[in-house]
């Protein structure tokens, strides 16, 4: 308890921030890596303001109004929307079923053997690593490859597309779920595990009260991505909005594109609403 202690030579050395050097190194390293990346990506923001391309762009965007209201096209659009919603929902349901067990295995804050560390530490770490790699394989393999694989089982049609979606999204959900569960306050769950509770109970009483909202909003967001991602479905003959959009854009049919974009926007707003609702329910 000596206020003057801070000024002895010995402590003035302890006033130097021990992290300063590491932070500086990291900063320099990041800048050094950024340069070649800019080069490879041909980064030239000046191109954004080129008068000529702005004109081309303007002309193209002008084609977006008015949105196409051709009744034939609207019928097609309506059907594609329904199909897409159904495929996204089914795909997400499957992805959820796949992701939940895997994420529970991967989540470190639910690991009993890490306390201490206790018995079964290495097997548990190995299982975690294996599940983690499995999640990575699931999501790193492009959807097309999965879709082509499942065509062999289901033939052309929505089944192969839905399954491809479910697999890749399962990989993503699993990873993100476990990261969310690790980034909330994990002390309550840990306290429960230390009192002998099981993993699922610790999840329910220790983590979910804090994480449920975030988990729900992420799941809804993924559903919304699934709606947009129906391009993949088109590969294997399941149609949907994504494919319609792809086609209209390639053909530079602005009217159709803007109609579809409006549908996308409405769906995104719907998803936002659902997300809000879920978060309220879970609060």
């Amino acid at each position: 308890m000596n206020p003057a202690a801070g000024f002895s030579p010995e402590t003035s050395a302890s006033l130097r921030d021990p992290l300063a050097r590491r932070r500086l190194t990291l900063l320099v390293l990041a800048l050094v890596l950024l340069w070649p990346a800019l080069h490879v990506a041909q980064f030239r923001p000046a191109a954004l303001f080129d008068a000529n391309s702005l004109r081309v762009m303007g002309g193209f965007l002008a084609g977006f109004v008015p949105p196409s209201t051709d009744s034939e096209f609207l019928k097609l659009l309506g059907r594609a929307t329904l199909e897409t919603l159904a495929m996204a929902t089914a795909g997400m349901a499957l992805a959820f079923v796949l992701a939940v067990p895997l994420s529970l295995v991967v989540t470190r804050s639910l690991s009993v053997s890490r306390i201490g560390p206790g018995p079964g530490r290495w097997p548990a770490a190995a299982v975690r690593a294996a599940a983690r790699s499995l999640l990575m394989v699931l999501r790193a393999c492009p959807e097309v490859v999965w879709a082509l694989l499942f065509v062999r089982a289901f033939g052309l049609g929505p089944a192969a597309g839905v399954l491809a979606l479910a697999i890749t999204y399962g990989g993503m959900l699993g990873k993100v779920y476990s990261e969310i569960l690790e980034s909330v306050d994990t002390r309550p769950a840990r306290a429960l595990l230390e009192a002998g509770s099981g993993r699922l109970a610790a999840l329910g009483y220790g983590l979910l009260p804090a994480a449920a909202q975030e988990l729900a909003s992420y799941t809804v967001y993924r559903w919304e991505c699934a709606v947009r991602a129906s391009v993949v479905m088109g590969f294997v003959g399941a149609g949907g909005l994504g494919q319609l959009m792809d086609q209209s854009m390639k053909m530079l049919n602005g009217g159709e594109a803007s109609s579809i974009l409006i549908v996308f926007l409405l769906l995104v707003l719907l998803a936002d609403g659902v997300s809000m609702l879920l978060r309220k329910v879970l609060a």
Binding site: V40, A41, M87, A90, M136, V162, E179, L265
Partner: protein, 269 residues
């Protein structure tokens, strides 16, 4: 024990709207499966399994010839650069947009920012790609912009929700000690949401590595275009190499993310 403790308080009523929401969700899922008439049992028939097994075997062995590996490496580099820059731009703009979208500057800006974010992300990358190509010409830069625009919408929303979910006490304490908005945020809230933001950012980078794939048509070449090309021509050995390269990138980002997060989680975790 005082009188008020003697009796069990009345159990609060169950929340009917909540039950309705859950029922609605279940109904939607069931309806989807029924409408698509999905029958997943075919997946496990011996014939399907054998056929899928053959498909997988075709990818082995991957093409490991030096010339092809060199091309793959080049593709990796481009994919990496395009996705990294796109994600970096999106991270910055997403963070800036997340603040108003989390309702920090009032309900009106919140609605406005949310709508803008929704607009950014309701347009898929591929569509942004078409627009950016018109703007800056075929080439990787168009890909960077396309990724950045869409990802900014995504990250902005995710960041905003992380902000809204973070415990408010530390930041409020600072505001109540007279701190201005920005420093109070930096000292009271950012340390709480930062790991989550970082996780989302890295994870979106990972997604963009896969997406830069689909952006092949804007001339953002890279692994995506190679994969599309070789799969179209049934050159599975080459496709396998490209997929392996994508695995490497994704695993690298995933590992980096895991390490960074480990350094950031609290000691009690």
């Amino acid at each position: 024990m005082s009188a008020r403790d003697a009796t069990l308080p009345a159990q609060p009523k169950p929340c009917v709207p909540c039950l309705l929401v859950w029922a609605g969700l279940v109904a939607a899922v069931v309806a989807s499966f029924a409408w698509l008439s999905l029958d997943l049992r075919t997946l496990f028939s011996a014939e399907s399994l054998a056929s899928m097994g053959r498909f997988i075997r075709e990818f082995f062995p991957p093409d490991l010839s030096a010339s092809f590996l060199a091309r793959t490496a080049e593709g990796m580099l481009q994919t990496l650069a395009v996705s990294a820059l796109g994600t970096l731009l999106a991270f910055g703009s997403g963070a800036l947009l997340a603040l108003p979208a989390a309702g920090r500057w009032g309900a009106l800006t919140r609605a406005g920012a949310r709508f803008f974010l929704n607009l950014l992300r309701s347009v898929p990358e591929l569509v942004w790609g078409v627009l950016t190509v018109l703007l800056v010409g075929l080439g990787p830069f168009a890909g960077v912009l396309a990724l950045a625009l869409h990802t900014a919408g995504v990250l902005g929303r995710l960041f905003a929700e992380a902000l809204e979910n973070a415990p408010p006490a530390p930041e409020r304490a600072l505001r109540e000690a007279g701190a201005a908005a920005a420093p109070a945020f930096a000292y009271g809230c950012l340390p709480l949401v930062w790991p989550q933001w970082l996780a989302y950012g890295l994870y979106r980078w990972e997604m963009n590595i896969r997406m830069a794939a689909a952006l092949g048509f804007v001339g953002a070449g890279g692994l995506g275009q190679m994969l599309y090309f070789h799969l179209s021509l049934f050159q599975q050995a080459q496709a396998a190499t490209v997929i392996a390269a994508m695995f490497v990138l994704v695993a690298a980002v995933d590992g980096a993310s895991a390490r960074l997060r480990r350094a950031l989680v609290p000691a009690h975790a």
